[in-house]
């Protein structure tokens, strides 16, 4: 059992050792400085935007929940709401 684990770990290390650089990004090896900088900028931009959206949503939700908790609600029976004239639930 232990031998199997060591073998798997050794295989993982061997595979990691064999890995080489893959130039999948057309901008990373660009001779143009402006192009490389644009790649870095857009990478940062695309990383930050979803985090900001999630953070902003959580912040807004917390604010809204607090505001709703601060506004006290009054429990009203359904029958009272039904025949309340112009304030009727069905209107």
């Amino acid at each position: 059992m232990r031998l199997a684990r060591v073998s798997v770990a050794a295989a993982a290390v061997a595979v990691a050792w064999l890995a080489d650089l893959a130039y999948a990004c057309p901008s990373c090896a660009s001779p143009l400085e402006e192009n490389r900088q644009a790649f870095v900028d857009t990478t940062v931009f695309l990383t930050v935007v979803p985090l900001m959206m999630m953070g902003g949503f959580i912040w807004w939700l917390r604010r809204r929940i607090r505001a709703m908790e601060d506004a006290r609600e009054i429990a009203v029976h359904e029958n009272l709401l039904r025949d309340a004239g112009p304030f009727s639930k069905d209107r």
Binding site: S27, S30, L32, E34, N35, Q37, A38, F39, D41, T42, F45, L46, V49, P50, M53, F57, L61, R64, I65, M68, E69, R72, E73, I74, A75, V76, H77, E78
Partner: protein, 196 residues
């Protein structure tokens, strides 16, 4: 919780408003995917622009109408402001809601028509989807946004129709606003990147 305690005391459940209505949550999720979609398009454009041989805009290509589009940008931003005040009027039950919503729709319509006229002029000058990198990116970015404006325009018309029939509630109005604010908010970024 005081309201729950009150409800228990009278033997009735407290009526609670949802923190976030389903329609708004759905629209927010949709807009979040749209934000990432536009972010991807803008990033591709920025990298393409920085890789252009001979500078940007590419030589020999028609110039984009910067000043005219600035006016159109102002119209779209004004549409967003009009919608904001329409919502305030709606909350207060003011009769101005209809007028303000109609103004927002008219300004949105103006934006679409103006952009259509701009496209006709640019195509006439030789800027097409296949004329080069500028044309390809321009019609992709601005065209995608135009599709969203057209969709938002239809949503606002639907909202106005409901308001005219006294059938509009805030759970319908709110998601429509979220979408329109997104359409209005993303345009200045596109204008800055593509036109300036």
């Amino acid at each position: 919780m005081p309201d729950d305690a009150l409800g228990r005391a009278f033997g009735v459940p407290a009526r609670r408003e949802p923190v976030l209505p389903n329609g708004v949550l759905g629209m927010l999720l949709f807009v979040a995917t749209e934000v990432m979609f536009f972010s991807g398009l803008i990033s591709a454009f920025v990298i393409g622009k920085s890789n252009a041989v001979g500078g940007w805009p590419p030589p020999g290509q028609p110039r984009l109408p910067v000043e005219e589009t600035a006016l159109n940008t102002a119209a779209l931003l004004a549409s967003g402001v009009a919608l904001y005040f329409a919502n305030r009027a709606f909350k207060n039950g003011s009769p101005n809601t209809k007028r303000l919503l109609l103004l927002a729709i008219a300004l949105g319509g103006f934006f679409v028509v103006f952009q259509g006229a701009e496209w006709v002029a640019l195509i006439g000058e030789g800027l097409t989807l296949t004329s080069g990198q500028l044309g390809g990116f321009f019609y992709l970015l601005v065209g995608t946004h135009a599709v969203h404006v057209a969709a938002g325009f239809i949503i606002l018309l639907y909202t106005y129709s409901k308001l005219s029939h006294d059938d509009l509630d805030r759970f319908t109005f709110w998601p429509a606003q979220v979408f329109w604010y997104f359409v209005v908010g993303v345009w200045p970024i596109l204008y800055w990147q593509v036109y300036l």
